[in-house]
């Protein structure tokens, strides 16, 4: 009797997850079309379709394939990467406030960029391409330090301790950034402010190629580990009872979260807020089971950043508003609305 009931709810939940995932995917496709039309130079939807299938003028092809398309792809990838990273960290730490920023990733990446800007002017063309690597390096170094401080041979990696260590590191690093920032000249300061607010500046296929391997490799791995995340979410003892090798699995999943967020922060700056709210939104849509939650988070995150980036380009032309700001301005109210409706 009870097993029957369980399978019935299970099926209903699965159906719901499929519907949500289908709906999110179609929304991404719609936003993709709108985003292709948005920008300084207007193209009609028909022109966009024509160009996509190879029938556009040279100018239209240049705009779409060399400027807009890479940016759109990057937006979706960054959103998905941050969101899944956040979902992992929230699942592991069982703390609803956890997000990739807590691993010190945003702070470490920002520090690397601020240090670089303090010594080299940002306007030089070459340095723009150097920065993602510096950011990734800063993020990885910080994450390693945080790991080292939250690891104990007898316990493995301890999630609560990791969050506290992460906060401590983030505070120390932001204080350092604060000092460096005051000494910058106003133009450099402005550049850093925009970068830290989260701006997608890699509008180039090279950045897509730099980002894609990470996501192609890590995302399937994480999806594959969804059941493990469910088990870990029950608490260490229960997870161990269910046969999960708690310490090893946790270390791997954390490494995956760092890899995802680190590569995303390198290209997108501090859009970390996606990593906090996308998993929450997804959880309210499909429930807490990671098999549905992880893909739903990825899609929610991708959609949010894509919409935010499109809006940011549309509102103030041609400069645009940093995407991270738009993400917070549209993401936070929706999140609050969901929060006020939940029981």
């Amino acid at each position: 009797m009870s097993t029957l009931y369980v399978t019935a709810t299970e099926q209903r939940r699965k159906k719901r997850a499929y519907i949500v995932i289908a709906a999110l995917s179609s929304l991404i496709i719609i936003s993709f079309m709108i985003s292709m039309n948005t920008g300084y130079i207007r193209l009609s939807p028909l022109d966009v379709l024509k160009t996509l299938f190879g029938g556009g003028t040279e100018k239209q092809e240049l705009i779409l394939f060399d400027f807009r398309l890479p940016r759109i792809v990057i937006s979706v990838l960054i959103g998905a990467g941050f969101a899944v990273s956040g979902a992992i960290i929230q699942g592991l730490s069982r703390n609803p406030l956890a997000d990739p920023g807590l691993l010190g990733i945003n702070a470490g990446a920002s520090l690397a960029v601020v240090l670089f800007i303090s010594f080299y002017p940002a306007t030089e063309r070459g340095s723009i391409f150097l920065m993602p690597f510096l950011a990734l390096l800063g993020a990885a170094l910080t994450a390693l330090l945080i790991f080292a401080f939250s690891y104990k041979r007898s316990h493995g990696l301890m999630p609560t301790r990791m969050i506290l260590v992460g906060i401590a590191f983030a505070a120390g690093i932001s204080a350092t950034i604060q000092i460096l920032q005051i000494r910058l000249d106003p133009n450099q300061f402005q550049f850093i402010a925009v970068w830290m607010a989260g701006n997608i500046w890699g509008t180039n296929w090279k950045f897509v190629l730099a980002l894609l391997p990470w996501l192609l490799f890590i995302l399937p791995f994480v999806f594959y580990k969804a059941k493990v995340l469910d088990a870990l979410n029950l608490g260490d003892q229960l997870a161990a009872g269910l046969g999960a090798q708690v310490n090893k699995e946790r270390a791997w999943l954390l490494a995956a979260a760092v890899g995802l967020a680190g590569s995303c922060v390198a290209v997108g700056g501090g859009i970390g807020f996606v990593g906090l709210i996308a998993p929450h939104v997804a959880r309210r849509l499909v429930g807490p089971q990671h098999q549905a939650l992880l893909p739903a988070s990825a899609l929610t995150g991708g959609l949010l950043v894509l919409v935010a980036d499109t809006l940011g380009r549309w509102i103030i032309q041609p400069d645009g508003i940093p995407t991270g700001i738009v993400v917070a301005v549209i993401g936070a109210p929706y999140f609050l609305y969901l929060l006020s409706r939940s029981k």
């Binding site: 401080f149 906060i167 204080a175 738009v326 917070a328 929060l339």
Partner: protein, 346 residues
């Protein structure tokens, strides 16, 4: 860490406390605070001997430059440091107790973000406001931030749960910070704001202390009064209600206290948020989980940290001031890391 054994409720729960250590901290801390205040008054661009400091306090002579420097520059600064440090630390302690979240501090209630947004608005649209007006505006911003968090948090059917407040706070905070960043970038006032935030308590005048001191002291006393109820809340709403607490009332009082403390402190010196996060952890580590001890100890330790950090701010690179947030991070982060690695695995 802050929410031990829910299961033992509702018979009076046993708490791990160390009243002896706590009394020691209070007595030792207060004496250290008096000493550090004297030290803070005596060191600076011009060093003034401690005996002169004593003379200036007890037999003030307006004709002596040293006495004037002490009375008009050094004393307000030292006192502001002590007040603000205690305010941030106790606000953080009350927040962590009420929300049962070790990551909570006053910035989670939208206070710092609200104050920051209001400052950005003032810098962008009303440049040249007086210091006092800026202070009032940023306190207003803090209140708006808090009002948003609580308004939205309590719209939900189940009412205000700690998790919901924390999440609403994080989202409202992110929203307000994003708006402030947008204004700062668009109107190019970011660096002015950064200067304001880094300025700390350097330019504090008696006037500001007269404005904030009554509120901070009153709120500190109120926090001490409700500290027992906060201990019970920190064990869970059910436990607290089972033991006869009117949880709604206590939480409302706690929120008002946090607003007064953190709002006044943020508007006077900007966001030195890390102090509010680490000091309660340190206090809890030292004296156990009873907020009747955590709150006074947090106040004393917070004051000490802020006064020492301010001394450091003047001494590191004289005559230039080093941002006090940096000093606090430099002192606080290693100590915090040390505490964390000493903690038993959780």
């Amino acid at each position: 860490m802050s929410a031990p054994m829910k299961s033992k409720a509702p018979s009076a729960p046993k708490l791990r406390t160390r009243p002896f250590t706590a009394s020691l901290i209070l007595i030792g801390g207060i004496s250290a605070l008096v000493l550090s205040l004297a030290l803070s008054i005596s060191v600076g661009a011009a060093n003034i001997s401690l005996s002169t400091v004593g003379e200036a306090v007890f037999r003030f002579n307006p004709d002596l430059t040293d006495h004037l420097v002490i009375k008009e520059l050094r004393m307000p600064r030292a006192i502001a440091g002590a007040l603000v440090g205690a305010a941030f630390a106790v606000a953080g302690a009350v927040m962590q107790g009420m929300t049962r979240n070790p990551l909570a501090d006053s910035s989670l209630l939208g206070i710092n973000a609200g104050a920051g947004l209001m400052l950005a608005v003032c810098f962008a649209f009303f440049p040249g406001l007086s210091y006092l007006k800026l202070m009032f505006m940023s306190f207003g911003g803090a209140a708006i931030g808090l009002g948003l968090v609580y308004g939205i948090g309590s719209l939900a059917k189940g009412g205000l749960t700690p998790v919901r407040i924390t999440l609403a706070g994080a989202a409202v905070g992110a929203l307000l910070v994003a708006l402030a960043e947008g204004i700062a970038i668009y109107f190019r006032v970011g660096q002015d704001l950064a200067f304001w935030y880094a300025g700390g308590i350097a330019g504090t005048k008696w006037l500001q202390i007269q404005v904030i001191a009554p509120w901070i002291i009153g709120a500190l006393l109120a926090a001490a009064v409700i500290s027992r109820s906060i201990t019970l809340l920190s064990l869970g709403d059910d436990v607290a209600a089972g033991l006869g607490q009117r949880t709604g009332l206590v939480k409302a009082a706690g929120v008002v206290i946090v607003l007064l403390l953190a709002g006044a402190a943020v508007s006077a010196v900007g966001s030195v948020g890390f102090a509010g996060l680490i000091i309660p952890h340190i206090a809890r580590f030292l004296v156990g989980v009873d907020y009747r001890w955590i709150i006074p100890c947090s106040a004393v330790l917070g004051s000490l940290l802020m006064v020492f950090a301010d001394i450091g701010a003047r001494m590191v690179n004289p005559p230039a001031e080093t941002p006090i947030g940096m000093i606090i991070a430099v002192i606080g982060v290693p100590f915090f890391l040390y505490l964390i690695t000493r903690m038993r695995g959780e």
